[in-house]
């Protein structure tokens, strides 16, 4: 029996800038959320776990092995980066198949697995299109597909929901839950607590390169709910959306941005608000291009925890 991820006094500096500092964690398996505001050190930690960075101090182990310059380990690890980088000249199918082949799958197996994962992510009908023509949500799905294609034991996902529409987010979260249920280990980075807690109760809170809290999401949730939560919804008719949302008890304030292309909502109860928002959007014909949660509320909690 081996531990999925283990770090001891792990540190990484970019010159004078601290990426992560003295991180000691042990993740036995299952789904774990890595939660922190932008710039907290989430990506640095994931790059260290995927051997793209060498630790400045301490050590990191994935299934008992150091990932730095350990190519063989990546048979067991799938990584979905946050970066927008993709081979834009390839079709979605070519891209996923290429990475399946690089993962050591035979030609036939690569073809089969590619079709399976593209189907799983609802990308079959777009698989022949060049990635350069994909929407942000499609690019996110194809990045997820390449991480899954070689059937890894551990999935490391860096902001996998970024750019997805509400339905896409729901589907992706359901898929992550299913992967966890199927016995996969998943480390899932996000700056939105609501997303993380919908797939796991175990989270790591990171800010300014340090792990601030590790454990059950409900304890963190209690802290976070003391602070108002901001949600920005970019859509074609924000005033109409404001009318649909404003009367609820969980909404503290709404504000349409000056360009008239987005609505900012302040809510005291994010869980209820998100559930209601999804229902409202599903029933209306509003064209939503993004739902974002600036991490002011998380930052407030992090500041509280650091004090």
């Amino acid at each position: 029996m081996s531990t999925a991820i283990e770090t001891r006094h792990l540190g990484k500096w970019y010159g004078e800038v601290v990426g992560v500092n003295d991180v000691t964690v042990t993740l036995e398996g299952g789904i774990t959320g890595l939660l922190g505001p932008n710039g907290a050190g989430k990506s640095t930690l994931l790059w260290l776990l995927t051997g793209q960075l060498r630790p400045s101090q301490g050590e990191v182990r994935v299934y008992g092995e150091a990932p730095w310059r350990n190519a063989a380990l990546f048979r067991r690890v799938g990584f979905c980066p946050e970066t927008e980088g993709l081979y834009r000249g390839l079709t979605g199918r070519e891209f996923v198949r290429l990475l399946a082949r690089l993962s050591g799958l035979s030609r036939r197996r690569a073809r089969t697995r590619t079709d399976e994962v593209l189907d799983l992510l609802g990308m079959t009908s777009f698989a022949r299109r060049r990635i350069g023509t994909y929407s942000k949500g499609m690019r996110q799905r194809v990045k997820f597909a390449q991480a899954l294609v070689h059937d890894p034991d551990l999935l490391i996902l860096d902001e996998p929901l970024a750019g997805l529409d509400p339905i896409g987010r729901r589907d992706m979260l359901a898929l992550i839950r299913r992967l966890g249920d199927a016995g996969k280990d998943v480390l899932f980075a996000s700056h939105i607590l609501h997303e993380v807690e919908s797939v796991t109760s175990r989270i790591l809170l990171i800010n300014r390169g340090r792990i601030l809290a590790e454990g059950d999401v409900h304890e963190i949730r209690a802290l976070i709910d003391r602070h108002p939560h901001h949600v920005r919804v970019a859509c074609d008719r924000p005033r109409e959306l404001a009318r649909l949302l404003i009367d609820a008890d969980d909404v503290l304030s709404v504000r349409v941005d000056p360009k008239g292309s987005a609505l900012s909502v302040e809510t005291a109860r994010p869980d209820e608000f998100y559930s209601r928002l999804m229902g409202v959007l599903a029933e209306s014909d509003l064209d939503v291009s993004a739902i974002e949660s600036p991490d002011d509320n998380l930052a407030a909690v992090f500041n509280y925890l650091m004090e």
């Binding site: 036995e28 960075l53 690890v77 990584f79 946050e82 980088g85 000249g89 082949r101 050591g104």
Partner: protein, 281 residues
Amino acid sequence: MTATAHPTRSSSKPRGSVWASGTLFALTLRQMLRTRWVLLTAAVLLAPAAFAVYWSPTDPLAADELILWGQIFVIGYLQFAAPFVALITGTSLISVEKEERTLSYLVTRPVPRWLVVVMKYAAAAVFCGVGLVLSMTLSYLALAQHFGMTKILEHWNPVIGVMGSAVAGMLVYLSIFLFLGMVARRPVVYGFIFVTVWEFFVGLIPRSIRYMTLVHYVRSLATHAIEAAPEEHQFMLQGAMTDAAPMEVVLVVLPTVWIALLAFSIWRFSTTEFHANPDRR
């Protein structure tokens, strides 16, 4: 929280390196076949051929036409096309992946990093090598079209020798520019200065300083290759050198530089930290 669901699955043996090799090779070739890259490479390769077509002599072996062979094959290919096509291709091999932020996909796969470098280099070598051979063949046919088919085939030997020298030179330049593309922020600028100032102009200076240039050894290799052909076929010698380095020296210098730079490139790639935000480096 439970223990990992796959405790017995070993990661100790990398598998599928052969498949990965072919995939990396094909990916790199495909990247190079993108319009902008191909057009630039084709322009460099076709420039000497265009001169050959334009100047195509009616009597290819006339005394006043012989210098043309040397100008096209030695200056046009050994000193211009081979280093420049290597510059365009070599500096881009890794930097394109960095700029497009796709390296993450390559270095988080069960593929040794050295294999990424070697297969990218191999694909570039094939791409540039095929281009050089095709262009030089076109130039030869343009210059020799009035020979007639029999003589065209008879005089083929020294051309093959110069082709081999150009390809050998290109392989060495490619390893230099591959390395430069990994260590320099503006590899094309430094590479351009190296090719034009050092290799071209310093390479023209007589006496010992030219021994410091790579092109001296590439031209020396071509000279020895032409000299190996029957005397009546050595019409290209006018464009070659009178003070060629001995073959033994050429056979030490070129492979040494080639292997050393390729090894440095592999070492550099294997020890470099790659991540999505290069600004943080």
